[in-house]
């Protein structure tokens, strides 16, 4: 994860990138990483599959929901002058 952040540091810490784009990129980076970190922690602490299933549900929501919501809400609230696609 450290290597990935180092390789993409120019993008991740850019001040020119729009906030929404940065949010998407950081969200993907963190949730993808947590999908490896959280199960490792659960296995080490012997919390059991039940706890792991619940934590995975939370991560699943965090990882999946933002992008479709942003795209669909952006399409719905787009400027009236924009004849995008249709």
């Amino acid at each position: 994860m450290g290597g990935l952040i180092f390789l993409t540091k120019d993008v991740l810490f850019s001040t020119d990138m729009p906030v929404l784009v940065l949010l998407l990129i950081w969200n993907l980076l963190l949730t993808y990483s947590l999908f490896g970190i959280v199960p490792t922690f659960v296995y080490m602490t012997h919390l059991g599959s039940s706890q792991l299933a619940r934590l995975l549900d939370v991560l699943n929501v965090l990882a999946k929901f933002p992008l479709p919501l942003i795209i669909l809400s952006g399409f719905i609230t787009r400027p009236a002058t924009n004849k995008f696609c249709f």
Binding site: V21, L28, F84, C85
Partner: protein
């Protein structure tokens, strides 16, 4: 009906609505026909002229239109939501007949793939075989998960009932089919879970006494344990299949002139890493289990999933790209034998004669 039960019922419906919305957008938004009029590229600080840069404009921004390219983010979101709606059907197996639910899930997957194929014919820019292969692989892997976690165990169970040696199984299933929890509610217990339980503990009557209170407590604990184990693998499989599609949607939306190998290797690496995670989880559960599962327990499904998913996708995409690039190089150089996969680009490829677009006639007119 509790809030959790309402959530279980509403979740697949919400995802299905999202899938239909995205499907409408992908059909209505012909990225192959649109011309780019406004794009605000963000040059990387360390980037060289002409190298990959980031597109910081969103589709709904003023003046933004897609460049002519064959990757449609809405089509990817449509596939993502469609597959997620199928996975969200799983909790309903406690309320409906799980065999019928598995069949409905398979029909849902097949219908989604047919709709996607129909979309490829409406997209005037054609479709790169990389995208077709990746989406096909995603639908296929969802089918594998459905078959090996719901449908196939049920079929095995029914076959086993026809043999005299399965009388013990029949007795156990009669007790397993309905389970009354501490609140008095009756749950339908999927045969996939009862079969997994039998694989772990066998049919020893002493271990699972029928009818008495101890047996019921043991049964409840066993069902909960195996549901959790199967549930974790199910969640891993769902994330393994659907999350890379979101990665591709971001990639084709944000990265200008992204080369095709970036899509291919990015998708393949994500799927492979997640599939390895599933295998590691199964190994961990197996190593910690006091009762070793007969026939390997979950291992056959896990390894079939692992080999059915990323590896054949890699070979399939490699074959398509090498074939198309070979044709392109032949047209450019007039000689045979030259070919490569790395130079392919995802955008505007249909404007180049002989480029890797499908159907081929869609790109030939531009």
């Amino acid at each position: 009906m509790s809030c959790l039960e309402i959530f279980y019922v509403a979740l697949p419906a919400l995802h299905a609505i999202g899938a239909l919305l995205a499907m409408g957008l992908s059909f209505g938004c012909d990225t192959g026909r649109a011309e780019q009029t406004a794009r605000r590229p963000y040059a990387l600080p360390n980037g060289l002229p002409g190298t990959t840069s980031f597109n910081t404009a969103f589709p709904w921004d003023e003046g933004f239109e897609f460049e002519n390219h064959t990757w449609n983010p809405f089509a990817l979101i449509f596939v993502f939501e469609w597959l997620t709606a199928g996975f969200a059907l799983r909790p309903l197996q406690y309320y409906f007949d799980h065999t019928r639910l598995a069949q409905a899930w398979l029909i849902w997957i097949s219908a989604g793939h047919l709709v996607f194929i129909a979309w490829t014919f409406t997209n005037s820019g054609g479709i790169c075989p990389t995208m077709l292969a990746i989406v096909t692989a995603s639908f296929f892997m969802s089918g594998v998960v459905c078959v090996y976690t719901l449908y196939y165990p049920s079929a095995l169970d029914e076959q086993g009932d026809e043999t005299p040696a399965s009388e013990a199984k029949l007795l156990m299933r009669a007790a397993d089919e309905n389970y009354r929890d501490k609140d008095g509610r009756v749950w339908k217990i999927p045969r996939s879970i009862t079969m997994l339980r039998r694989r772990f503990v066998g049919n020893d009557e002493e271990q699972d006494p029928q009818g008495d209170e101890q047996g019921e407590v043991y049964q409840a604990e066993a069902i909960e344990e195996y549901e959790d184990i199967q549930g974790v693998i199910f969640r891993y499989a769902e994330y393994c299949i659907t999350a890379p599609l979101l990665f591709l949607a971001v990639l084709c939306l944000m990265v200008v002139e992204a080369p095709a190998w970036l899509f291919l290797t990015g998708y393949w690496l994500l799927v492979t890493c997640n599939a390895i995670g599933i295998a590691l989880h199964a190994s961990f559960v197996f190593s910690r289990s006091e009762e070793k599962p007969e026939g390997g327990g979950l291992a056959p499904f896990v390894f079939k999933f692992f080999f059915a998913g990323p590896w054949w996708v890699f070979v399939f995409i490699l074959f398509f790209m090498m074939k198309q690039e070979k044709k392109t190089d032949q047209k450019k150089t007039g000689r045979e034998g030259a070919g490569g996969i790395l130079p392919s680009t995802s955008r505007a490829c249909c404007r180049r004669p002989g480029c890797a677009c499908w159907p081929r006639w869609a790109g030939s007119s531009s």
